[in-house]
């Protein structure tokens, strides 16, 4: 049991937790945060794999840097869209309940 094993397990748990948030929570903010947590979990696996080498593998580091910027872009779009959904819904509620 070393730190790589710990973070591999943590990453997997975080991924499933994020998925739980996306599937089970109704509010869009929770869904958006859930997706971001899933992404962070994937980054954690990347970096845990990178830390196996000595010195640490630089390729996953670069991939995660790219991924972080992609994640913030997606989050900015998602939040803007959420605001529009909330504005258009009758009770100003940011959920997808009334869209069916």
């Amino acid at each position: 049991m070393n730190e790589i094993a710990i973070y591999l397990i943590t990453g997997s748990v975080l991924f499933c937790l994020g998925l739980w948030g996306v599937v089970m929570r109704e509010h869009l903010l929770h869904k958006i945060l859930g997706v971001n947590i899933m992404g962070s979990a994937a980054f954690m696996l990347f970096l845990a794999f990178a830390a196996r080498a000595e010195p640490a593998d630089a390729v996953p580091h670069a991939l995660v840097l790219t991924g972080i910027v992609v994640a913030i872009s997606a989050m900015a779009l998602a939040l803007a869209l959420m605001k529009r959904v909330a504005k258009e819904s009758e009770q100003h509620q940011a959920t997808l309940e009334d869209s069916q």
């Binding site: 730190e3 790589i4 094993a5 710990i6 973070y7 591999l8 397990i9 943590t10 990453g11 997997s12 748990v13 991924f15 499933c16 937790l17 994020g18 739980w20 948030g21 089970m24 929570r25 109704e26 509010h27 903010l29 929770h30 945060l33 971001n36 947590i37 962070s40 980054f43 954690m44 970096l47 845990a48 794999f49 990178a50 830390a51 196996r52 010195p55 640490a56 630089a58 390729v59 996953p60 580091h61 670069a62 995660v64 840097l65 790219t66 972080i68 910027v69 992609v70 913030i72 872009s73 989050m75 900015a76 779009l77 939040l79 803007a80 605001k83 504005k87 009770q91 100003h92 959920t95």
Partner: protein, 308 residues
């Protein structure tokens, strides 16, 4: 150190669960910011200082600012409480994720990777820091496309129509103004330092761009808080000036021009002449820093049209 790792892992899982579970959206957002900060600690523990820097600046800082701004624009800040079924079902991701993680333990020992290739070619790459070499030389195409993603995230956000109004509080006193007069130049200075340092140590265009974006956003917020929202925000208009908009595309254009030049000179698409690689990378990084900073700031400020 294993105890630190265990504690960190446990805390981060609890924080993530709380972030998704609580029905108070403000708490959710704060928990997400804490999650970002803890993640950056994890990245440090995993020997990834570059990503830790970026995570603090972008994953916790900018994302936090975006989330808080969103929260202040929403009418309702409480979600429905998690149902009993949802509460019980929280055990599933923990068990499933744990099982998944344990099944990955075969990957701990052998360490396949591109580390050797990265280090063997580093003298050819024009920079000394391996992460910068990967980002701007070996896998420059990823980075170019990622600037495109930023660009189109902005275009997509604009396509959604006008933004919601802020529920800002007008502040008394000039503390924030003096603070921003101190901080904005300092942030710009640090951004320049981080950018320059990227050639041989952790740092580079991403972190520098995020810092510079923070400077813009800070100036914007201070202006908003001091003047009240009726006044047009100078920062927003500066960012959206047509000449400044050309800088938004600067990073993408720099990548493409250098990439095509490499193609025509026989180094392959996105290739550099080894003798000039260092200078070209620095030029691209400077352009990319401005692009990242301006677009991230524009994603925060919006173009200025608001719903009545």
């Amino acid at each position: 150190m294993i105890i630190v790792d265990l504690l960190l892992a446990l805390t981060i899982v609890l924080v993530a669960a709380r972030c998704l579970y609580t029905s108070n959206l403000a708490e959710s957002v704060v928990m997400f910011i804490v999650f970002g900060l803890l993640l950056s600690l994890v990245w440090v523990r995993l020997y990834a200082p570059d990503t830790a820097l970026a995570e603090v600046a972008i994953g916790a800082g900018l994302a936090g600012a975006l989330l808080l701004a969103t929260l202040s624009q929403l009418h309702l800040t409480h979600a429905a409480k998690a149902t009993a079924m949802a509460r019980i079902s929280l055990i599933i991701p923990v068990l499933l994720g744990g099982a998944l993680g344990v099944s990955l333990l075969s990957l701990v020992q052998p360490a396949p990777g591109l580390s050797d290739l990265v280090m063997n070619n580093i003298t050819q790459s024009g920079v000394e820091h391996p992460v910068t070499a990967v980002l701007l030389n070996y896998r420059a195409w990823d980075t170019a496309l990622e600037l495109a993603i930023l660009m189109w995230a902005w275009a997509a956000q604009r396509a959604l129509g006008p933004n919601l109004a802020w529920h800002g509080v007008r502040l008394q006193g000039l503390v924030l103004v003096y603070f921003s007069r101190l901080m904005v130049p300092l942030l710009a200075l640090v951004a320049g330092y981080v950018l320059w340092q990227g050639a041989y140590a952790p740092g580079g265009a991403f972190q520098a761009g995020a810092l510079l974006a923070t400077a813009f956003i800070l100036a914007f917020i201070v202006q908003q808080a001091q003047l009240g929202q009726a006044n047009p925000a100078v920062i927003r208009r500066f960012i959206h000036h047509w000449a400044v908009k050309l800088l938004w595309l600067g990073g993408l254009l720099a990548f493409f021009v250098v990439g095509l030049a490499g193609l025509l000179l026989g180094y392959g698409f996105m290739g550099y002449a080894p003798a000039y690689a260092g200078a070209l990378i620095l030029a691209i990084e400077i352009a990319a820093t401005f692009s990242i900073a301006l677009i991230l700031a524009a994603l925060f400020t919006g173009e200025g049209r608001r719903y009545e």
